[in-house]
Homo-oligomer: 405 residues x 2
């Protein structure tokens, strides 16, 4: 199934900086050959000694073998990183002992190739769940060729190599005072916030201890990937990792933290802009909750409501469904204090339709390819958080009825 | 928008018994006139003195004014009932002071007509959220006409009078030893289990104190309406009420409880069979959880996954998405102990695809208009519970993009 480029895609792949201390290569294991596509489906990153890393992963109770390994390696290796090997086309999730054998083969190949401990090598895979590869060494066999091709990264090519139902490659970057950050992500369906979402990697030349990188990454994930949803389904393979080569030396932590969060937010937005079948990007801005966590739950309840998403797909300002989703969020709310805006137009207050309600004004706010819906719960002092989602269209159904075939 | 009859609909409306001690009438307030339809949109039930009632309602924090009233009346009136007035076409939810004025007018009309206390009169409304009726007395004005037409109930006509996007009228019944139970329900979208779901009424001639009826109804709701989902969205108006006229005298409570639950399960299944756009009824049977509550959460996670629902719409036995939804349910689960069957065919065990897996056999289990998926978590001793849902098709999107227009 050849998917057209999302109408919400940016004009071009962002300009991503080189990151001193790492090299990259892409290759193909033919995992899309059955679909008549010989696209790159695998990439390798090699890091200089001294690189530190951190990661946040899916909370799924049926996480993939690759996620299991990364968690284990982060602890065993103390956050040191020398290699990252990622493939699309097969998620190696729910593949039992085979999945562990596949990882063992890949790790042996990486460890031997670079003469580094296995615990400093990280893996990820994305694609169909539950189908074993032709043999455990199938990805490992590509390692020598990839290692021979390592060079300054072609970030767009890397970002293409782990696309599945994605319709465009996703990159984001920030240049700080003396350091750079480059990030790539993939994700389009099975997108819901629960720690991290799908596969995203952020690389920097900043020098940071692993524990500090871990702390900054968790905070960035909470403000980015944990505030998006395409379809409310959390993946078995969700992974967000950050790698800091240290080549640029120590940095201003506050500025770096802000840039890291901004990079993650850009990537998270790109994932939603490529939401399966999406035609509209929806910005949900929620304030006045008892806490930011409550505000996020309200936003997620709206974002995951098929009734809200189908109404917006049709350009219908059906604000009653926003009321329903707020009521359904399981957090402190009071019908009479709730206020809802479509764009700048107040549609609901004091337990009913706003006095100045205009169907035309509300409809106009839903007409474009970006819709802003603001909700103030009026029960607490939580600041406005932004949560991103997309509409639910016929294309989502077509894509997901045909995914395995 | 004229919707075709669901392909999952039963051949005909069930044969419902007369219930001694009550009379019914239907009428039209023209709430569908804008759509060129002069269908009945309101019904009235009148109960003899001595009738007892109980109810379970939406847990939404933005419940409708009618739900507010019913909760209040049950407490204030001690579970005595003399009248029930229900309309479709407008839910009277999030209508602020207007909504309360509408209820006051309706209650005044009922109380005056039958010379009974307001607290023995119950109301419900279903339809668009947030739009006030032309005037508060709009429904009340029909009460004299309805009261004049009260007669032995035409149950199918009553069930038709509160349909919204429903494509068929829903009724179920049981005849016990010396008593009868008749139930009607409406519901098609905004269907998710959270106490009760949408509007359903069960009537019996059995004699029961209100507190006992309440207890039996809660238990029946847990095993029926709280185990279905069409789209994961909980309505602002969910109401399940039971009315017992007592005309048949005391009954065997155990047998009655089983019949009440069976009636509610039949009605709940009919709601799913009329799920918006549904083409397949999906029976999720979950066992081996730490508790029945955990099993229900796992089933709900599967039932509410758009990825599962779209795959099944296409007849694709994408069992990896069942693994994903189990992992995502937030309950105790162990990847290696999980077993999944499509029909009688074991597809997954020991953390991977089952040894005897056959794509043809799994696909065949998804081909018909009824799909049975069995999940054993293998972590506890909970008995099998059945949870019903339906597939997600293009028609759901069409219906919900056009609902207000």
């Amino acid at each position: 199934m050849k998917l057209p480029r999302s109408p919400l895609a940016p004009d071009r792949f962002a300009a991503l900086p080189d990151i001193a201390g790492l090299r990259a290569a892409t290759g193909s294991r033919g995992l899309y050959a059955a679909a008549g596509d010989d696209r790159p489906d695998t990439f390798l990153l090699a890091f200089d000694a001294g690189t530190r890393c951190a990661g946040v992963f899916t909370r799924s109770a049926t996480a993939s073998a690759d996620v299991d390994w990364c968690r284990q390696a982060l602890v065993a290796g103390g956050g040191k990183a020398r290699a990252l090997l990622v493939n699309a086309g097969n998620s190696n999730a729910f593949t039992g002992e085979f999945g562990q054998a596949k990882n063992a083969a890949s790790l042996a190949a990486l460890s031997g190739q670079f003469a580094v401990p296995r615990e400093q090598c990280f893996l990820a895979a994305t694609g169909v769940i539950g189908e074993p590869l032709p043999r455990p060494g199938y990805i490992a066999e590509l390692v020598p060729e990839l290692a021979g091709a390592l060079d300054r990264p072609d970030w767009e090519r890397c970002a293409r190599a782990f696309m599945t139902t994605d319709t465009f490659a996703k990159g984001a970057a920030r240049r700080g005072n003396g350091y750079s950050i480059a990030g790539i992500a993939k994700g389009s369906g099975m997108i819901a916030p629960n720690m991290a979402t799908m596969l995203a990697y952020v690389f920097t030349d900043a020098e940071l201890p692993a524990h500090q990188l871990d702390e900054l990454l968790r905070s960035a994930a909470d403000a980015s990937f944990n505030r998006i949803s395409v379809d409310g389904d959390t993946s078995t393979s969700d992974t967000l990792m950050a790698f800091a080569t240290g080549a640029a030396g120590p940095v201003d932590i506050e500025a770096f933290a802000a840039d890291l969060t901004a990079t993650c937010r850009d990537l998270a937005e790109l994932v939603v802009r490529d939401g399966e079948g999406a035609r509209k990007l929806i910005r949900l801005r929620v304030s006045g909750a008892a806490s930011e966590a409550d505000a996020t739950r309200v936003a997620a309840s709206i974002a995951n409501s098929p009734l809200v998403k189908t109404a917006l797909a049709a350009g219908d300002a059906n604000w009653g469904r926003i009321v329903m989703a707020v009521g359904n969020a399981g957090v402190e709310a009071a019908r009479e204090r709730l206020r809802i805006w479509f764009g700048d137009h107040l549609v609901a207050e004091q337990g009913g339709r706003a006095a100045g309600y205009s169907e035309a004004a509300a409809g106009a706010a839903c007409a474009g390819d970006e819709v802003i819906i603001r909700v103030d719960l009026g029960v607490g002092a939580s600041r406005e958080i932004e949560f991103l989602t997309c509409d639910l269209t016929h294309a989502y159904i077509d894509i997901n009825g045909a995914y395995r075939t």
